[in-house]
Symmetry: C2
């Protein structure tokens, strides 16, 4: 959802190239399908699909290790107070490193990433300080040092992201957020719960189907 809104922003302002990763996450086939459809719907110039085998090899996260269960979101507690087992160690650095390498070859000026701090699950690599550090890494470690790392959603609440996406015409119907679902989103993991709350607060229905929307 966040990536789709971020992609819609990028496509509005730039000749945009999409980069998508399969990194052994449980829903990688489903995410790939969504990402391709979103990029196509937004008229991206190119779609680069990369595979990272590292996380499958080293384990350590519920998103990439079948031996660790994806927990249900707590019913009456805030999400994001501690780092959860779905944290994939230093994952976004891999995504950004690839984006910077490709940007250098393309001569691209900016990299968009849909990281969100406040309403996120407490992942350290979703905080503004992390992206400031990455910007400094780009300044010091690339040919020209001038590629911008943009995180236009980072200070938004999830409901604001839904509102922005509706305004931009982001294809929410094509997106996928669930950590553990198969044909339909589970409705119970942190990611589903945050998404459902966001649409609820924005006063608009989430257009994707859920296996278990109202379990009680």
């Amino acid at each position: 959802m966040d990536s789709a809104v971020c992609a819609a922003l990028a496509a509005r302002d730039y000749d945009a190239y999409a980069l998508h990763f399969s990194y052994g996450q449980r829903t990688e086939q489903r995410e790939l399908q969504s990402a391709r459809q979103v990029a196509e719907a937004l008229n991206f110039s190119s779609f680069l699909h990369l595979e990272i085998d590292l996380f499958h090899r080293i384990g350590g996260s519920a998103l990439t290790d079948p031996a660790i269960t994806v927990p249900k979101a707590p019913e009456h507690e805030p999400i994001g107070q501690t780092i959860p087992v779905t944290y994939v160690p230093f994952r976004n650095a891999h995504f950004l490193a690839a984006a910077v390498s490709w940007a250098e070859v393309l001569g691209a000026r900016a990299i968009f990433i849909g990281a969100v701090e406040q309403d996120s699950s407490g992942y350290p690599d979703c905080r503004p300080a992390y992206y400031q550090a990455f910007q400094q890494l780009v300044r010091t470690g690339t040919r020209e040092g001038d590629i911008e790392i943009l995180t236009p959603l980072i200070h938004l609440k999830k409901r604001q992201i839904v509102a922005m996406g509706l305004e931009l015409g982001a294809p929410f119907n094509l997106t996928w957020s669930c950590y553990s679902g198969a044909d339909e989103a589970c409705g119970e993991c942190d990611s589903c719960v945050l998404r459902l709350r966001a649409f609820d607060e924005a006063g608009t229905p989430d257009p994707i189907p859920y296996a278990l929307r109202n379990p009680s």
Copy 2:
């Protein structure tokens, strides 16, 4: 050569785990063979070999794109004044990102990388400021924020690295530095020329064979 000396330092002070990358570089099979042998000679606890298909996919470097020729080193000019065509865009960020992810899972305290600034080929991702920025990225973007990025060779001259390697017993005979050679190192690329100069200045013979040591 630099990696082997750095590995010898790590193995002296820590229970060390080796991480090696095939990223589509011309000599990836030969480098892999050397890396395995060096890690074995230094009694590393583990050897993780990762493959990165990005650089092959995006091109842009003489090291990974067969369409770009690896140049011969200039005969009477210093190496490292400009960024050469062998620069692989933002390469070391990919190496370090993988090392940090693995370190988080292992509970490792430090990451060693054999980057060298002064005598290197002018790569932006071999400068101290770049590693300072990466350290900040680790502080802000990992679970505990306490993994150290160590660049013990960064301020050394190549001849000092040779001297340090001799003192530590680094297995120079097992190493590989050439950018473009096959069975034997070419003796003509920047990497070979810097290496040969280093051994020469250190007053000790380089133990590996060269196809073309004295072309004149």
